[in-house]
Symmetry: C2
Subunit: 299 residues, 2 copies
């Protein structure tokens, strides 16, 4: 099975209590693809500027990620700057410089057209739909979105939502999208828009899965130290989609195990800045933490 | 086994999106004892004013709660008023009128002195310690506390903490008590003060148990409707302590099951205002929801 991921490839400046880094590898597609790369071959559609360091592409390629769909355009790579305060729960965006990402129009290379699993990271909902229209017959497609599109592009967003099987968003976005404060009822309202599988990410509080079989609650892994929460949600999505795609099943059990794998990948992601934890992370460590999740939740 | 509970018996005014109620039964000891009453005989030590309605005492007694330790003093019952906004996560205290609770000095009736399990709800840490000094040989004692004592009575609080086996507090209090933002390290710091079992309550995000065996994460039950979050934490403590006391074991498994029972009782508590849900709640409903917790967390 292969997993197609479309989204941003970026350079980030991060300020956090554990330190500050500048111009490090970031972007939703980068985090998602690298998390998925422990389970399947991830095919990325994205764009970088001509200032994007070759070493970042080499790092991703070394994890077996297919970068045929990542184009290099004239101009600056998408850059984002964020600051975390001591609680690490809330972040402040310092700047967003879209660069070449502003005119991103995802085109799937021919060898991506038969992708069986598709994840549409947070980009304009019209572009997300464009990817779905190119993909020939994905077995399972899921998407993320953000407050900017919920506020400004609701009609486009609802059109795209009606075409995906899964939505992976955070709790605030779920409430904003539906106008419903209670998450169980917000998930009902989202499922009425199309996606049968809704995952609500709650940061350090874990994630809730709502599907045909009911509700499933996954805790976040209790970590002693978090260096950089950036990319946790995208790593979650990558681990979730990768695990699903590698198993091939869409059963309730498979979805639940995939949510735990998503939580595992997110938990590793935040241990270091940028994608650095993935430079050394092994599949054995992932499976070991999966088992630790059993001990964490078993009664 | 019996469970001794010391704490407030109160009359509450509550404003919430689902409605407003005035002068309803409240207080940490009331919530804790009624939740525990599904598992064991709860013995309450508390005080009411001479304005306290007899019907509330009859309601508690009808659940098999021993009220021999609840004295009736001349003056007003402790009254508290709170307001919840649409998210239900944060509340505003409208007033606190201590009344006779200001001079509360818990004295255990002779038949309470052999209580095997003791829960010290949130009162002055010196009074909590006074109860521990009266109890002959409890097998397991746990306590709650609040920001007011953490700020103003730290020395007394630490003395009391060094004498209990368990602490049940919320996440903000855990951080405030230790000055540590990371909850895993905050729990380490609390355990260094005395309690080997630390439970951090996180409201709608569930609870974390830290003990000799490691960490255990319990989700909150995903409810479609919450009328009144008041007393959820005390109901959690009552369900936890009651389940522990009824089983008699302090094994890691028993502690984990007790945390789930605590979560079950908290989830029922918030379905109605005041202690009203407990007017109809049955043990069968509790055990049924306990099984729903298995489905909610199994992977």
């Amino acid at each position: 099975m292969s997993l197609l991921v479309v989204g941003s490839v970026a350079l980030d400046d991060i300020e956090a209590p554990a330190g500050s880094v500048k111009s490090v590898l970031g972007g939703a597609a980068s985090y998602c693809a690298i998390a998925a790369s422990y389970f399947v071959r991830a095919q990325v559609v994205g764009v970088t500027g001509d200032d994007f360091p070759q070493e970042h592409l080499e790092f991703l390629a070394a994890r077996g990620i297919d970068l045929a769909g990542v184009t290099r355009a004239k101009g600056r790579t998408f850059r984002w700057g964020g600051r975390y305060h001591s609680s690490l729960n809330q972040r402040e965006t310092l700047f967003t410089d879209l660069g070449v990402f502003e005119h991103f129009d995802p085109v799937l290379p021919p060898e991506y057209l038969d992708a069986s699993f598709v994840f549409l990271a947070n980009i304009h909902p019209k572009l997300q739909r464009g990817v779905l229209e190119q993909a020939r017959a994905p077995r399972f497609s899921a998407m993320d979105t953000m407050n900017f599109w919920i506020e400004g592009e609701r009609a486009e967003l609802e059109k795209t939502l009606s075409r995906v099987a899964g939505l992976v968003i955070n709790d605030e976005e779920a409430r904003q999208l539906t106008g419903v404060s209670n998450l169980v009822r917000a998930a009902d309202a989202i499922r009425a828009l199309g996606p049968t599988t809704v995952i609500v990410k709650r940061g350090e509080h874990g994630a809730l899965l709502f599907d045909e079989a009911g509700v499933f609650a996954a805790p976040a892994f209790p970590l002693r130290e978090v260096q950089d929460p950036t990319g946790a949600g995208d790593s979650f999505a990558g681990g979730f989609m990768g695990a699903l795609a590698s198993g091939g099943s869409l059963s309730a059990d498979a979805l639940r195990r995939a949510v735990i794998y998503g939580s595992v990948l997110a938990s590793f992601c935040v241990e270091r800045f940028s994608l650095d934890r993935f430079r050394t992370l092994t599949r054995d460590e992932i499976d070991d933490r999966f088992e630790q999740f059993r001990r964490l939740t078993r009664f």
